[in-house]
Subunit: 246 residues, 2 copies
């Protein structure tokens, strides 16, 4: 087996660090799991037993690897990590989508993925340039949610439109034409896509005329909401509306 | 003037680092600003001129202080910081409250403060033990929102109740008795309090019977939502309901 490397973007594998993300990985994608790394300092709790049991059942090797864990986790303490193979997802066209356009923060991306899974938005389109969805920091912030999602990458937004120009689109913008509550009333039985822009620059101005652009009402004492918060509010509101139609 | 120290909790002053938080500080609380520290590497943009102008107008001294900036910002680049005096807020009893019960993450706290300001929840009660609301990381995550909020600290929840036992309370819990949309329909003209618990442990179980406990519906594929996201969803939904009554 080849020597494990500290993470970088072009590695074909990545690390789900922490007990919860590693367990999410083996449960959702056993076929992508390569090995489970454990620290000699890890205490044998019920959760650890569950994780090791799931690996045994799936034929995934478990090994003590203090040195590798230290190397991949930088400063933070890390007592367990799943080495997993990266893979591109496949969309389930019955479900709504979330489009992340040029996201630049691993924490925000992971947090959005966690919200998306909880609200049944399983199709995630990431438009490049974008922060790495397999960066261990993204995986950790998602609490492993990404392993239950269909995450796809597109080099440009045009590439996305080549496949999905028929999906009703709701771009979230500070100057969106319709307030959130009103936008939710336009949701029908058909799946749709919520679009969120970059942390600092938002979405390009021309998105205001694509589909129904949405604004989340807030006063002008703040510049904008945090991206993961804005996405959370939008996903919650649209999930409620979509559920009411089904 | 005494020598500025690296930040610690018992210091009577703190640092609003970054151009945006420093500007928010001088605009909202000029009387609490002590001095503005600037890096020699700072480029003179329009935003910088605005900040310096606001300091001059308020009689707040500006000084070049590369060494101090390096010391207080740890690894991160920091080109500007406002030294400000800490102060306890005073509640505006016409407005709703947010209660943060034992919050443990500076990033989440700052993000929640930013959402709260944007949605006109200006009264923030922090129940100890809690992460430091004046920690420069909290200030930064809030983008300086805290300077326009009324932030109060209580050593215990009983201390809070000594003053505010008449305020209708909505504790957010995984097993809350009422889903969010339904809870919002109980909002009237009177202000109320939304209560959010600790990142890892949530609220103590007995909160389920205090006021109307609220759950944000999500599937069981995630353990819980991120705290700042859950607070964002709750604040948005209640802000809409409160606005509709006024």
């Amino acid at each position: 087996m080849p020597k494990l490397e500290p993470y970088y973007r072009d590695l074909p594998y990545s690390y789900a660090t922490g007990l919860f993300p590693a367990t999410a990985c083996i449960k959702a994608c056993p076929e992508r799991c390569q090995r489970l790394l454990l620290s000699s300092k890890l205490r044998m709790t019920e959760d650890v037993r569950t994780l090791i049991g799931a690996c045994e059942a799936a034929g995934v090797r478990t090994e003590q690897a203090d040195h590798v864990l230290e190397r991949i986790s930088r400063k933070e303490n890390c007592f367990a990590a799943m080495v997993y193979e990266k893979a591109e997802g496949v969309f389930d066209d019955r479900l709504p989508q979330i489009i992340l356009y040029n996201p630049s923060d691993t924490g925000n991306m992971g947090t959005i993925l966690r919200t998306a899974l909880g609200m049944d938005f399983r199709n995630i389109a990431i438009i490049r340039p974008a922060v790495d969805s397999d960066d261990p920091r993204t995986v950790r912030a998602s609490m492993g949610a990404m392993f239950s999602l269909n995450v796809r990458h597109f080099d440009t937004f045009s590439r996305y439109l080549d496949e999905y120009d028929q999906v009703p689109m709701y771009p979230f913008m500070l100057d969106g034409s319709v307030p959130l509550a009103e936008a939710c009333r336009t949701v029908g039985k058909e799946p749709f896509a919520l679009v969120f822009g970059n942390e600092a620059t938002g979405l390009p101005a021309n998105f205001v005329h694509m589909g129904t652009s949405v604004r989340i009402p807030h006063n002008d004492e703040i510049d904008s909401l945090n991206l993961a918060v804005a996405a959370g509010i939008g996903i919650y509101a649209f999930a409620q509306a979509f559920k009411a139609e089904h």
